[in-house]
Protein backbone atom coordinates (compact mmCIF):
# COMPACT_ATOMS: atom_id res chain seq x y z
CA UNK A 1 0.00 0.00 0.00
CA UNK A 2 1.13 3.50 -0.74
CA UNK A 3 2.44 5.37 2.26
CA UNK A 4 3.20 8.88 1.12
CA UNK A 5 2.77 11.98 3.29
CA UNK A 6 -0.64 12.66 1.77
CA UNK A 7 -1.79 9.19 2.88
CA UNK A 8 -0.53 9.64 6.41
CA UNK A 9 -1.60 13.24 6.95
CA UNK A 10 -4.10 14.26 4.28
CA UNK A 11 -5.21 17.41 6.09
CA UNK A 12 -1.69 18.65 6.79
CA UNK A 13 -0.64 17.76 3.27
CA UNK A 14 -3.16 20.29 1.96
CA UNK A 15 -1.68 23.11 4.02
CA UNK A 16 1.86 22.14 3.05
CA UNK A 17 0.85 22.03 -0.60
CA UNK A 18 -0.73 25.47 -0.38
CA UNK A 19 2.37 26.87 1.26
CA UNK A 20 4.52 25.40 -1.52
CA UNK A 21 2.35 26.87 -4.23
CA UNK A 22 2.40 30.27 -2.57
CA UNK A 23 6.16 30.09 -2.58
CA UNK A 24 6.32 29.02 -6.24
CA UNK A 25 4.16 31.95 -7.25
CA UNK A 26 6.51 34.34 -5.48
CA UNK A 27 9.47 32.61 -7.11
CA UNK A 28 7.95 32.97 -10.57
CA UNK A 29 7.26 36.69 -10.31
CA UNK A 30 10.44 37.49 -8.41
CA UNK A 31 12.60 35.49 -10.79
CA UNK A 32 11.29 37.27 -13.87
CA UNK A 33 12.03 40.59 -12.20
CA UNK A 34 15.56 39.34 -11.61
CA UNK A 35 16.01 38.98 -15.34
CA UNK A 36 14.55 42.43 -15.96
CA UNK A 37 17.08 43.91 -13.52
CA UNK A 38 20.03 42.02 -14.91
CA UNK A 39 19.26 43.03 -18.49
CA UNK A 40 18.49 46.59 -17.53
CA UNK A 41 21.58 47.25 -15.47
CA UNK A 42 23.89 45.72 -18.03
CA UNK A 43 22.10 47.75 -20.72
CA UNK A 44 21.47 44.63 -22.77
CA UNK A 45 17.73 45.19 -23.00
CA UNK A 46 15.62 47.80 -21.23
CA UNK A 47 11.90 47.16 -20.88
CA UNK A 48 11.30 49.49 -17.99
CA UNK A 49 12.00 53.07 -17.19
CA UNK A 50 14.98 53.52 -14.92
CA UNK A 51 12.65 55.32 -12.52
CA UNK A 52 10.72 52.07 -12.07
CA UNK A 53 13.86 50.16 -11.23
CA UNK A 54 13.36 50.31 -7.48
CA UNK A 55 9.81 49.04 -7.76
CA UNK A 56 11.17 46.01 -9.57
CA UNK A 57 14.06 45.59 -7.18
CA UNK A 58 11.83 45.88 -4.11
CA UNK A 59 9.51 43.25 -5.51
CA UNK A 60 12.45 41.00 -6.40
CA UNK A 61 14.00 41.25 -2.95
CA UNK A 62 10.79 40.90 -0.96
CA UNK A 63 9.18 38.19 -3.08
CA UNK A 64 12.29 36.04 -3.24
CA UNK A 65 14.13 36.64 -0.01
CA UNK A 66 11.04 36.80 2.20
CA UNK A 67 7.97 35.33 0.51
CA UNK A 68 9.39 32.47 -1.53
CA UNK A 69 11.76 31.25 1.13
CA UNK A 70 9.48 31.52 4.14
CA UNK A 71 6.40 30.01 2.53
CA UNK A 72 8.46 27.07 1.42
CA UNK A 73 10.06 26.59 4.79
CA UNK A 74 6.82 26.66 6.78
CA UNK A 75 5.75 23.82 4.49
CA UNK A 76 8.94 21.87 5.14
CA UNK A 77 8.77 22.50 8.87
CA UNK A 78 5.18 21.36 9.14
CA UNK A 79 6.13 18.23 7.23
CA UNK A 80 9.20 17.68 9.43
CA UNK A 81 7.32 18.02 12.71
CA UNK A 82 4.37 15.83 11.79
CA UNK A 83 6.48 13.19 10.05
CA UNK A 84 9.07 12.85 12.77
CA UNK A 85 6.57 12.94 15.65
CA UNK A 86 4.30 10.65 13.70
CA UNK A 87 1.23 12.65 14.65
CA UNK A 88 -0.82 15.38 13.07
CA UNK A 89 -1.00 18.98 14.20
CA UNK A 90 -3.19 19.63 17.21
CA UNK A 91 -5.83 21.64 15.38
CA UNK A 92 -5.78 21.93 11.63
CA UNK A 93 -7.97 25.05 11.73
CA UNK A 94 -5.22 26.80 13.62
CA UNK A 95 -2.73 25.67 11.00
CA UNK A 96 -4.88 27.13 8.24
CA UNK A 97 -5.29 30.34 10.18
CA UNK A 98 -1.57 31.11 10.25
CA UNK A 99 -1.29 30.23 6.61
CA UNK A 100 -4.14 32.61 5.74
CA UNK A 101 -2.55 35.30 7.88
CA UNK A 102 0.73 34.98 6.02
CA UNK A 103 -1.09 35.16 2.69
CA UNK A 104 -3.00 38.26 3.78
CA UNK A 105 0.21 39.94 4.84
CA UNK A 106 1.86 39.09 1.54
CA UNK A 107 -1.05 40.45 -0.46
CA UNK A 108 -0.95 43.77 1.40
CA UNK A 109 2.78 44.09 0.91
CA UNK A 110 2.48 43.18 -2.77
CA UNK A 111 -0.31 45.71 -3.36
CA UNK A 112 1.84 48.43 -1.84
CA UNK A 113 4.89 47.49 -3.89
CA UNK A 114 3.15 46.92 -7.21
CA UNK A 115 1.31 50.22 -7.03
CA UNK A 116 4.72 51.63 -7.86
CA UNK A 117 4.05 50.69 -11.48
CA UNK A 118 0.90 52.81 -11.68
CA UNK A 119 0.97 56.26 -13.21
CA UNK A 120 -1.21 57.57 -10.43
CA UNK A 121 -1.31 55.26 -7.46
CA UNK A 122 -4.55 55.44 -5.45
CA UNK A 123 -4.62 57.08 -2.05
CA UNK A 124 -5.53 54.96 0.91
CA UNK A 125 -5.53 56.06 4.56
CA UNK A 126 -4.70 59.54 3.44
CA UNK A 127 -1.50 58.80 1.56
CA UNK A 128 -0.54 57.44 -1.80
CA UNK A 129 0.25 53.76 -2.07
CA UNK A 130 3.98 53.48 -2.34
CA UNK A 131 6.69 51.08 -1.25
CA UNK A 132 9.85 51.49 -3.33
CA UNK A 133 11.86 50.98 -0.19
CA UNK A 134 13.70 47.74 -1.07
CA UNK A 135 13.48 44.72 1.16
CA UNK A 136 15.55 46.44 3.84
CA UNK A 137 13.08 49.39 4.11
CA UNK A 138 15.71 51.70 5.60
CA UNK A 139 14.42 55.05 6.73
CA UNK A 140 14.38 57.80 5.53
CA UNK A 141 12.76 55.82 2.71
CA UNK A 142 9.16 55.67 3.77
CA UNK A 143 6.56 53.20 2.58
CA UNK A 144 2.80 53.38 2.78
CA UNK A 145 1.47 52.03 6.12
CA UNK A 146 -0.06 49.07 4.30
CA UNK A 147 3.42 47.81 3.48
CA UNK A 148 4.42 47.75 7.14
CA UNK A 149 1.09 46.32 8.25
CA UNK A 150 1.44 43.55 5.69
CA UNK A 151 4.93 42.74 6.94
CA UNK A 152 3.69 42.57 10.51
CA UNK A 153 0.84 40.24 9.60
CA UNK A 154 3.23 38.02 7.71
CA UNK A 155 5.65 37.81 10.61
CA UNK A 156 2.88 37.22 13.15
CA UNK A 157 1.70 34.42 10.86
CA UNK A 158 5.11 32.80 11.16
CA UNK A 159 5.00 33.24 14.94
CA UNK A 160 1.73 31.36 15.05
CA UNK A 161 3.21 28.71 12.80
CA UNK A 162 6.03 28.34 15.30
CA UNK A 163 3.51 28.02 18.08
CA UNK A 164 1.74 25.34 16.07
CA UNK A 165 4.95 23.31 15.81
CA UNK A 166 5.61 23.75 19.51
CA UNK A 167 2.16 22.69 20.62
CA UNK A 168 2.30 19.68 18.34
CA UNK A 169 5.54 18.74 20.06
CA UNK A 170 4.03 19.38 23.52
CA UNK A 171 1.15 17.09 22.69
CA UNK A 172 3.59 14.41 21.57
CA UNK A 173 5.72 14.88 24.67
CA UNK A 174 2.73 14.21 26.92
CA UNK A 175 2.46 10.78 25.37
CA UNK A 176 6.19 10.09 25.04
CA UNK A 177 7.59 11.49 28.25
CA UNK A 178 11.00 9.85 28.28
CA UNK A 179 11.86 10.03 24.64
CA UNK A 180 14.38 12.26 22.95
CA UNK A 181 13.05 14.92 20.64
CA UNK A 182 13.25 13.42 17.16
CA UNK A 183 15.96 15.16 15.18
CA UNK A 184 13.81 16.90 12.53
CA UNK A 185 11.53 18.31 15.23
CA UNK A 186 14.55 19.38 17.24
CA UNK A 187 15.82 21.27 14.22
CA UNK A 188 12.47 22.98 13.71
CA UNK A 189 12.12 24.00 17.34
CA UNK A 190 15.61 25.45 17.71
CA UNK A 191 15.14 27.40 14.49
CA UNK A 192 11.77 28.69 15.65
CA UNK A 193 13.29 29.86 18.91
CA UNK A 194 15.89 32.08 17.31
CA UNK A 195 13.26 33.27 14.86
CA UNK A 196 11.25 34.54 17.83
CA UNK A 197 14.30 36.24 19.27
CA UNK A 198 15.34 37.97 16.08
CA UNK A 199 11.92 39.02 14.81
CA UNK A 200 11.34 40.94 18.02
CA UNK A 201 13.82 43.47 16.64
CA UNK A 202 12.08 44.03 13.36
CA UNK A 203 8.67 44.04 15.06
CA UNK A 204 9.89 46.76 17.40
CA UNK A 205 11.34 48.73 14.51
CA UNK A 206 8.07 48.60 12.59
CA UNK A 207 5.52 48.91 15.36
CA UNK A 208 7.26 51.50 17.50
CA UNK A 209 8.88 53.63 14.80
CA UNK A 210 8.27 53.05 11.11
CA UNK A 211 4.53 52.45 11.18
CA UNK A 212 3.70 55.39 13.47
CA UNK A 213 5.97 57.53 11.32
CA UNK A 214 4.29 56.51 8.07
CA UNK A 215 0.90 57.09 9.67
CA UNK A 216 2.03 60.58 10.63
CA UNK A 217 1.78 59.92 14.36
CA UNK A 218 5.42 60.84 14.88
CA UNK A 219 7.39 63.26 12.75
CA UNK A 220 10.64 61.45 12.34
CA UNK A 221 12.67 58.40 13.25
CA UNK A 222 16.28 57.74 14.08
CA UNK A 223 17.53 56.07 10.89
CA UNK A 224 20.47 54.42 12.55
CA UNK A 225 18.22 52.92 15.19
CA UNK A 226 15.70 51.41 12.77
CA UNK A 227 18.51 50.22 10.59
CA UNK A 228 20.24 48.53 13.49
CA UNK A 229 16.99 46.93 14.55
CA UNK A 230 16.53 45.73 10.99
CA UNK A 231 19.93 44.05 10.97
CA UNK A 232 19.31 42.62 14.41
CA UNK A 233 16.73 40.62 12.50
CA UNK A 234 18.39 40.73 9.08
CA UNK A 235 21.23 38.40 9.74
CA UNK A 236 19.21 35.84 11.64
CA UNK A 237 16.65 35.74 8.85
CA UNK A 238 19.35 34.32 6.60
CA UNK A 239 19.62 31.43 9.02
CA UNK A 240 15.88 31.11 9.02
CA UNK A 241 16.16 30.27 5.31
CA UNK A 242 19.29 28.28 5.75
CA UNK A 243 18.10 25.99 8.55
CA UNK A 244 15.39 24.29 6.46
CA UNK A 245 18.08 23.87 3.83
CA UNK A 246 20.27 22.22 6.44
CA UNK A 247 17.33 20.08 7.49
CA UNK A 248 17.14 18.83 3.92
CA UNK A 249 20.89 18.22 3.75
CA UNK A 250 20.92 16.38 7.07
CA UNK A 251 17.86 14.25 6.77
CA UNK A 252 17.28 13.87 3.03
CA UNK A 253 20.70 13.85 1.36
CA UNK A 254 22.03 10.86 3.33
CA UNK A 255 18.90 8.90 2.48
CA UNK A 256 19.05 9.85 -1.18
CA UNK A 257 22.72 8.83 -1.27
CA UNK A 258 21.69 5.42 -0.05
CA UNK A 259 22.99 5.68 3.50
CA UNK A 260 22.43 7.18 6.92
CA UNK A 261 23.18 10.40 8.69
CA UNK A 262 26.68 10.17 10.10
CA UNK A 263 25.88 11.69 13.48
CA UNK A 264 22.68 12.82 15.17
CA UNK A 265 24.53 14.41 18.14
CA UNK A 266 26.66 16.55 15.85
CA UNK A 267 23.54 17.72 14.04
CA UNK A 268 22.01 18.76 17.36
CA UNK A 269 25.15 20.64 18.33
CA UNK A 270 25.03 22.52 15.05
CA UNK A 271 21.44 23.62 15.55
CA UNK A 272 22.11 24.66 19.13
CA UNK A 273 25.03 26.78 17.92
CA UNK A 274 22.77 28.49 15.42
CA UNK A 275 20.23 29.18 18.12
CA UNK A 276 22.94 30.79 20.21
CA UNK A 277 24.77 32.76 17.58
CA UNK A 278 22.32 33.71 14.85
CA UNK A 279 21.29 37.03 16.29
CA UNK A 280 24.16 38.73 18.16
CA UNK A 281 26.09 39.54 15.01
CA UNK A 282 23.77 41.61 12.85
CA UNK A 283 26.09 44.58 13.18
CA UNK A 284 28.40 42.87 10.70
CA UNK A 285 26.09 44.33 8.05
CA UNK A 286 26.85 47.79 9.36
CA UNK A 287 30.63 47.89 9.30
CA UNK A 288 30.42 51.10 7.31
CA UNK A 289 27.70 52.77 9.33
CA UNK A 290 28.95 55.83 11.12
CA UNK A 291 27.62 56.13 14.64
CA UNK A 292 28.46 52.63 15.79
CA UNK A 293 31.77 52.30 17.57
CA UNK A 294 34.42 50.02 16.11
CA UNK A 295 34.44 47.91 19.26
CA UNK A 296 30.86 46.74 18.74
CA UNK A 297 31.65 45.96 15.15
CA UNK A 298 34.59 43.94 16.30
CA UNK A 299 32.37 41.90 18.63
CA UNK A 300 29.98 41.25 15.76
CA UNK A 301 32.87 40.12 13.61
CA UNK A 302 34.11 37.73 16.27
CA UNK A 303 30.68 36.17 16.66
CA UNK A 304 30.44 35.85 12.90
CA UNK A 305 33.69 33.98 12.67
CA UNK A 306 32.45 31.63 15.40
CA UNK A 307 29.46 30.85 13.26
CA UNK A 308 31.74 29.36 10.66
CA UNK A 309 32.10 26.45 13.04
CA UNK A 310 28.59 24.98 12.70
CA UNK A 311 28.75 25.43 8.95
CA UNK A 312 32.04 23.58 8.78
CA UNK A 313 30.61 20.87 11.04
CA UNK A 314 27.71 20.61 8.64
CA UNK A 315 29.98 20.29 5.64
CA UNK A 316 31.80 17.48 7.41
CA UNK A 317 28.71 15.58 8.57
CA UNK A 318 26.86 15.87 5.30
CA UNK A 319 29.79 14.83 3.14
CA UNK A 320 30.62 11.96 5.50
CA UNK A 321 27.01 10.78 5.27
CA UNK A 322 27.10 10.97 1.50
CA UNK A 323 30.29 8.99 1.42
CA UNK A 324 28.71 6.39 3.65
CA UNK A 325 25.77 6.20 1.27
CA UNK A 326 28.01 5.94 -1.77
CA UNK A 327 29.97 3.11 -0.20
CA UNK A 328 26.73 1.29 0.56
CA UNK A 329 26.04 1.55 -3.15
CA UNK A 330 29.35 -0.06 -3.97
CA UNK A 331 31.49 3.06 -4.33
CA UNK A 332 35.21 2.59 -3.74
CA UNK A 333 38.47 4.47 -3.53
CA UNK A 334 39.50 7.77 -2.01
CA UNK A 335 37.38 9.79 -4.39
CA UNK A 336 36.02 7.05 -6.62
CA UNK A 337 32.97 6.76 -4.35
CA UNK A 338 31.78 10.08 -5.72
CA UNK A 339 30.85 8.42 -9.00
CA UNK A 340 28.64 5.96 -7.16
CA UNK A 341 26.27 8.69 -5.96
CA UNK A 342 22.83 8.88 -7.61
CA UNK A 343 23.65 11.74 -9.96
CA UNK A 344 20.65 11.05 -12.15
CA UNK A 345 18.30 11.85 -9.33
CA UNK A 346 17.39 15.56 -9.59
CA UNK A 347 16.58 15.74 -5.89
CA UNK A 348 20.01 14.50 -4.91
CA UNK A 349 21.95 16.37 -7.58
CA UNK A 350 20.15 19.65 -6.98
CA UNK A 351 20.85 19.51 -3.26
CA UNK A 352 24.46 18.41 -3.74
CA UNK A 353 25.19 21.22 -6.21
CA UNK A 354 23.47 23.68 -3.92
CA UNK A 355 25.76 22.52 -1.12
CA UNK A 356 28.80 22.96 -3.33
CA UNK A 357 27.80 26.51 -4.20
CA UNK A 358 27.27 27.18 -0.54
CA UNK A 359 30.90 26.28 0.05
CA UNK A 360 31.90 28.90 -2.51
CA UNK A 361 29.55 31.35 -0.82
CA UNK A 362 31.28 30.62 2.46
CA UNK A 363 34.52 31.93 1.01
CA UNK A 364 33.06 35.16 -0.26
CA UNK A 365 31.16 35.42 3.00
CA UNK A 366 34.36 35.34 5.00
CA UNK A 367 35.53 38.31 2.96
CA UNK A 368 32.32 40.16 3.72
CA UNK A 369 32.66 39.31 7.38
CA UNK A 370 36.17 40.66 7.79
CA UNK A 371 35.83 44.19 9.10
CA UNK A 372 38.69 45.68 7.14
CA UNK A 373 38.30 43.82 3.87
CA UNK A 374 34.57 44.46 3.92
CA UNK A 375 35.32 48.09 3.11
CA UNK A 376 36.52 46.95 -0.29
CA UNK A 377 33.31 45.19 -1.23
CA UNK A 378 30.65 46.95 0.83
CA UNK A 379 27.58 47.87 -1.22
CA UNK A 380 29.16 46.63 -4.42
CA UNK A 381 27.91 43.92 -6.72
CA UNK A 382 30.25 41.51 -4.93
CA UNK A 383 27.68 41.30 -2.16
CA UNK A 384 24.89 40.58 -4.62
CA UNK A 385 27.05 37.85 -6.13
CA UNK A 386 27.58 36.45 -2.66
CA UNK A 387 23.97 36.18 -1.63
CA UNK A 388 22.84 34.73 -4.93
CA UNK A 389 25.08 31.84 -3.97
CA UNK A 390 23.62 31.61 -0.48
CA UNK A 391 19.92 32.37 -0.57
CA UNK A 392 19.73 32.41 -4.37
CA UNK A 393 21.27 28.97 -4.75
CA UNK A 394 22.11 27.08 -1.56
CA UNK A 395 18.57 27.78 -0.38
CA UNK A 396 16.61 28.26 -3.60
CA UNK A 397 18.15 25.32 -5.45
CA UNK A 398 17.77 23.03 -2.46
CA UNK A 399 14.13 24.03 -2.20
CA UNK A 400 13.50 23.45 -5.89
CA UNK A 401 15.23 20.08 -5.71
CA UNK A 402 13.25 19.25 -2.57
CA UNK A 403 10.04 20.19 -4.36
CA UNK A 404 10.67 17.33 -6.78
CA UNK A 405 10.36 15.01 -3.82
CA UNK A 406 7.75 16.91 -1.82
CA UNK A 407 5.17 17.69 -4.45
CA UNK A 408 4.60 13.99 -5.19
CA UNK A 409 4.47 13.42 -1.42
CA UNK A 410 1.78 16.01 -0.76
CA UNK A 411 -0.26 15.41 -3.90
CA UNK A 412 0.15 11.69 -4.52
CA UNK A 413 1.01 12.53 -8.12
CA UNK A 414 4.13 11.44 -9.89
CA UNK A 415 6.66 14.01 -11.04
CA UNK A 416 6.02 14.96 -14.65
CA UNK A 417 9.63 14.56 -15.80
CA UNK A 418 12.73 13.58 -13.89
CA UNK A 419 15.03 14.30 -16.83
CA UNK A 420 13.74 17.83 -17.21
CA UNK A 421 14.18 18.19 -13.48
CA UNK A 422 17.79 17.08 -13.70
CA UNK A 423 18.42 19.47 -16.57
CA UNK A 424 16.78 22.22 -14.55
CA UNK A 425 19.01 21.90 -11.50
CA UNK A 426 22.14 21.65 -13.66
CA UNK A 427 21.10 24.71 -15.60
CA UNK A 428 20.57 26.69 -12.41
CA UNK A 429 24.09 25.81 -11.34
CA UNK A 430 25.58 26.89 -14.65
CA UNK A 431 23.52 30.06 -14.87
CA UNK A 432 24.39 31.05 -11.34
CA UNK A 433 28.05 30.35 -11.95
CA UNK A 434 28.04 32.84 -14.81
CA UNK A 435 25.98 35.47 -13.06
CA UNK A 436 27.48 35.31 -9.63
CA UNK A 437 31.07 35.09 -10.81
CA UNK A 438 30.73 38.24 -12.88
CA UNK A 439 28.95 40.03 -10.04
CA UNK A 440 31.73 39.17 -7.62
CA UNK A 441 34.40 40.36 -10.00
CA UNK A 442 32.50 43.55 -10.82
CA UNK A 443 32.31 44.29 -7.14
CA UNK A 444 36.05 44.07 -6.84
CA UNK A 445 36.46 47.08 -9.09
CA UNK A 446 33.71 48.96 -7.33
CA UNK A 447 30.59 48.37 -9.44
CA UNK A 448 27.79 49.48 -7.09
CA UNK A 449 24.72 47.41 -6.31
CA UNK A 450 21.16 48.75 -6.25
CA UNK A 451 21.30 51.09 -9.18
CA UNK A 452 19.59 51.03 -12.56
CA UNK A 453 22.45 52.75 -14.31
CA UNK A 454 25.85 51.87 -12.93
CA UNK A 455 27.73 53.54 -15.75
CA UNK A 456 28.77 57.05 -14.73
CA UNK A 457 29.92 59.86 -16.97
CA UNK A 458 33.61 60.64 -17.19
CA UNK A 459 34.46 57.60 -15.17
CA UNK A 460 35.58 54.15 -16.23
CA UNK A 461 35.71 51.06 -14.11
CA UNK A 462 39.01 49.23 -14.35
CA UNK A 463 38.61 45.48 -14.16
CA UNK A 464 41.70 43.47 -13.34
CA UNK A 465 41.03 41.09 -16.22
CA UNK A 466 38.72 41.46 -19.21
CA UNK A 467 36.34 44.34 -19.84
CA UNK A 468 33.22 45.69 -18.19
CA UNK A 469 31.26 44.77 -21.32
CA UNK A 470 32.38 41.17 -21.02
CA UNK A 471 31.30 41.01 -17.42
CA UNK A 472 27.95 42.58 -18.21
CA UNK A 473 27.45 40.01 -20.94
CA UNK A 474 28.32 37.27 -18.49
CA UNK A 475 25.72 38.53 -16.01
CA UNK A 476 23.07 38.76 -18.73
CA UNK A 477 23.86 35.28 -20.01
CA UNK A 478 23.70 33.85 -16.50
CA UNK A 479 20.41 35.59 -15.81
CA UNK A 480 18.86 34.21 -19.00
CA UNK A 481 19.97 30.66 -18.15
CA UNK A 482 18.57 31.07 -14.64
CA UNK A 483 15.21 32.14 -15.90
CA UNK A 484 15.09 29.30 -18.42
CA UNK A 485 15.84 26.99 -15.51
CA UNK A 486 13.10 28.63 -13.49
CA UNK A 487 10.58 28.18 -16.29
CA UNK A 488 11.49 24.50 -16.54
CA UNK A 489 10.95 24.15 -12.81
CA UNK A 490 7.55 25.80 -12.85
CA UNK A 491 6.51 23.85 -15.94
CA UNK A 492 7.39 20.62 -14.19
CA UNK A 493 5.38 21.62 -11.14
CA UNK A 494 2.33 22.66 -13.15
CA UNK A 495 2.35 19.57 -15.35
CA UNK A 496 2.86 17.38 -12.30
CA UNK A 497 -0.27 18.79 -10.76
CA UNK A 498 -2.18 17.82 -13.93
CA UNK A 499 -0.98 14.22 -13.57
CA UNK A 500 -3.39 11.64 -12.19
CA UNK A 501 -2.63 10.17 -8.78
CA UNK A 502 -0.13 7.38 -8.85
CA UNK A 503 0.51 4.30 -6.74
CA UNK A 504 4.25 4.41 -7.10
CA UNK A 505 5.03 7.34 -4.84
CA UNK A 506 7.87 6.44 -2.47
CA UNK A 507 7.14 6.13 1.25
CA UNK A 508 7.40 9.21 3.39
CA UNK A 509 10.66 8.57 5.22
CA UNK A 510 13.85 10.35 6.13
CA UNK A 511 17.39 9.25 6.86
CA UNK A 512 18.28 7.00 9.77
CA UNK A 513 21.43 7.67 11.74
CA UNK A 514 24.73 5.87 12.21
CA UNK A 515 25.16 7.46 15.61
CA UNK A 516 21.73 8.15 17.04
CA UNK A 517 20.22 10.40 19.72
CA UNK A 518 21.27 7.93 22.43
CA UNK A 519 24.81 9.17 21.82
CA UNK A 520 23.80 12.80 22.27
CA UNK A 521 24.10 14.27 25.79
CA UNK A 522 20.66 14.94 27.29
CA UNK A 523 21.53 18.55 27.84
CA UNK A 524 21.41 19.21 24.11
CA UNK A 525 17.64 18.85 24.28
CA UNK A 526 17.31 21.43 27.02
CA UNK A 527 15.73 24.11 24.90
CA UNK A 528 15.08 26.44 27.84
CA UNK A 529 18.75 26.54 28.72
CA UNK A 530 19.90 27.31 25.18
CA UNK A 531 17.24 29.95 24.73
CA UNK A 532 18.32 31.63 27.95
CA UNK A 533 21.95 31.69 26.85
CA UNK A 534 20.94 32.99 23.44
CA UNK A 535 19.03 35.84 25.04
CA UNK A 536 21.96 36.70 27.28
CA UNK A 537 24.30 36.81 24.28
CA UNK A 538 21.90 39.11 22.48
CA UNK A 539 21.75 41.40 25.48
CA UNK A 540 25.54 41.51 25.64
CA UNK A 541 25.91 42.24 21.95
CA UNK A 542 23.15 44.81 21.59
CA UNK A 543 22.50 46.74 24.79
CA UNK A 544 25.45 49.07 24.54
CA UNK A 545 25.26 49.78 20.82
CA UNK A 546 21.53 50.46 21.02
CA UNK A 547 21.92 52.64 24.07
CA UNK A 548 24.57 54.73 22.43
CA UNK A 549 22.60 55.03 19.19
CA UNK A 550 19.58 56.25 21.11
CA UNK A 551 21.68 58.54 23.19
CA UNK A 552 23.36 60.25 20.28
CA UNK A 553 20.48 60.25 17.81
CA UNK A 554 17.39 60.17 20.00
CA UNK A 555 14.66 57.57 19.89
CA UNK A 556 12.86 59.46 17.15
CA UNK A 557 15.75 61.30 15.63
CA UNK A 558 18.04 64.03 16.94
CA UNK A 559 16.53 67.17 18.31
CA UNK A 560 13.03 65.83 18.73
CA UNK A 561 12.35 67.27 22.13
CA UNK A 562 10.66 65.31 24.82
CA UNK A 563 11.23 62.01 23.16
CA UNK A 564 14.92 61.67 23.92
CA UNK A 565 15.65 58.72 26.08
CA UNK A 566 17.20 60.15 29.19
CA UNK A 567 19.34 57.69 31.01
CA UNK A 568 19.32 57.91 34.76
CA UNK A 569 22.03 60.15 36.15
CA UNK A 570 23.91 57.31 37.78
CA UNK A 571 23.80 55.14 34.67
CA UNK A 572 25.48 57.73 32.51
CA UNK A 573 29.06 57.53 33.86
CA UNK A 574 28.94 53.75 33.95
CA UNK A 575 27.92 53.71 30.33
CA UNK A 576 30.66 56.15 29.49
CA UNK A 577 33.33 53.96 31.02
CA UNK A 578 32.00 50.88 29.28
CA UNK A 579 31.97 52.70 26.00
CA UNK A 580 35.55 53.74 26.43
CA UNK A 581 36.54 50.17 27.12
CA UNK A 582 34.77 48.87 24.05
CA UNK A 583 35.51 51.62 21.57
Amino acid sequence: MRNAYVDQFPAEARVVKSAFWSSFLALAIGGIFGLVQALHRTDVLRFIDSTDYYTVLTAHGVLLAITFTIFFLVGIFTWAVTTSLDRGVVDIRFTWSWYVMMVTGTVLVAVAIFSGFLEEPPSILGSELYADVLFTFYSPLQAHPIFYIGLVLFVVGTWLAGFDWFRTWWAWRDENADERIPLPTFMVLTTTLFWYICTLGVALSILAFLLPWSLGIVDSVNPLLTRTLFWYFGHAVVYFWLMPTYVMWYIMLPKLSGGKLFSDPLARVVFVLFLLLSTPLGIHHQYLDPGIAEGYKFIAMTNTMFLLLPSLLTAFTVVASMEHGARQRGGEGYLGWLTALPWRDPVFTGMALAGLMFAAAGFSGMINAGMNINYLVHNTWWVVGHFHLTVGTAVALTFMAAAYWFIPQVTGKELWSRSVALGQVLLWFVGMTFMSNAMHRSGLFGMPRRTAEPQYQNFDFEPAVGTVAEMDAQVALGAVLLVVSLVLFLLNMVLTSFNGTSDSIPDNTYAGTLSGPEDAPEILDNLKLWTAIAVVLVIFAYTLPLASIVESGGLFGPGIDGRQLSLGADLEPALETLREVVA
Binding site: T339, W343, F434
Partner: protein
Protein backbone atom coordinates in the same frame (compact mmCIF):
# COMPACT_ATOMS: atom_id res chain seq x y z
CA UNK B 1 30.94 3.59 -19.57
CA UNK B 2 33.10 4.31 -16.57
CA UNK B 3 30.51 6.47 -14.85
CA UNK B 4 26.77 6.88 -15.16
CA UNK B 5 25.37 9.36 -17.65
CA UNK B 6 24.15 11.48 -14.79
CA UNK B 7 27.62 11.60 -13.26
CA UNK B 8 29.16 12.52 -16.62
CA UNK B 9 26.71 15.37 -17.03
CA UNK B 10 27.43 16.64 -13.56
CA UNK B 11 31.17 16.33 -14.24
CA UNK B 12 30.85 18.55 -17.29
CA UNK B 13 28.72 21.06 -15.43
CA UNK B 14 31.31 21.23 -12.67
CA UNK B 15 33.90 22.30 -15.20
CA UNK B 16 32.09 25.57 -15.78
CA UNK B 17 33.25 27.43 -12.66
CA UNK B 18 36.82 26.30 -13.21
CA UNK B 19 36.85 27.40 -16.82
CA UNK B 20 35.31 30.76 -15.95
CA UNK B 21 37.84 31.41 -13.23
CA UNK B 22 40.72 30.18 -15.38
CA UNK B 23 41.06 33.56 -17.03
CA UNK B 24 41.37 35.40 -13.76
CA UNK B 25 43.69 32.80 -12.31
CA UNK B 26 46.00 32.76 -15.32
CA UNK B 27 46.22 36.54 -15.45
CA UNK B 28 47.76 36.34 -12.05
CA UNK B 29 50.72 34.59 -13.66
CA UNK B 30 50.81 37.18 -16.42
CA UNK B 31 49.07 34.96 -18.97
CA UNK B 32 46.17 36.75 -20.63
CA UNK B 33 43.63 34.72 -22.59
CA UNK B 34 40.45 35.88 -24.30
CA UNK B 35 36.90 34.75 -23.65
CA UNK B 36 36.91 32.68 -26.81
CA UNK B 37 40.14 30.99 -25.80
CA UNK B 38 38.80 30.07 -22.41
CA UNK B 39 35.64 28.75 -24.04
CA UNK B 40 37.80 26.58 -26.28
CA UNK B 41 39.74 25.27 -23.30
CA UNK B 42 36.43 24.44 -21.66
CA UNK B 43 35.20 22.62 -24.73
CA UNK B 44 38.41 20.63 -24.97
CA UNK B 45 38.14 19.62 -21.33
CA UNK B 46 34.50 18.60 -21.76
CA UNK B 47 35.40 16.46 -24.77
CA UNK B 48 38.27 14.90 -22.84
CA UNK B 49 36.03 13.99 -19.89
CA UNK B 50 33.40 12.58 -22.19
CA UNK B 51 35.96 10.48 -24.04
CA UNK B 52 37.35 9.21 -20.75
CA UNK B 53 33.89 8.35 -19.48
CA UNK B 54 32.74 6.59 -22.64
CA UNK B 55 35.91 4.58 -23.22
CA UNK B 56 35.20 1.22 -21.61
CA UNK B 57 38.16 0.36 -19.38
CA UNK B 58 37.26 -3.32 -19.48
CA UNK B 59 34.47 -5.66 -20.41
CA UNK B 60 32.28 -5.11 -17.36
CA UNK B 61 32.54 -1.31 -17.60
CA UNK B 62 28.77 -1.24 -18.01
CA UNK B 63 28.33 -2.06 -14.37
CA UNK B 64 29.04 1.52 -13.39
CA UNK B 65 25.83 2.73 -15.00
CA UNK B 66 23.57 2.66 -12.02
CA UNK B 67 21.40 5.35 -10.68
Amino acid sequence: MRVSKGALLVGIVLLVPFVIELRTALSWFGIEITVVESALVGLALAVAITAWALWPPNEDGEAADRS
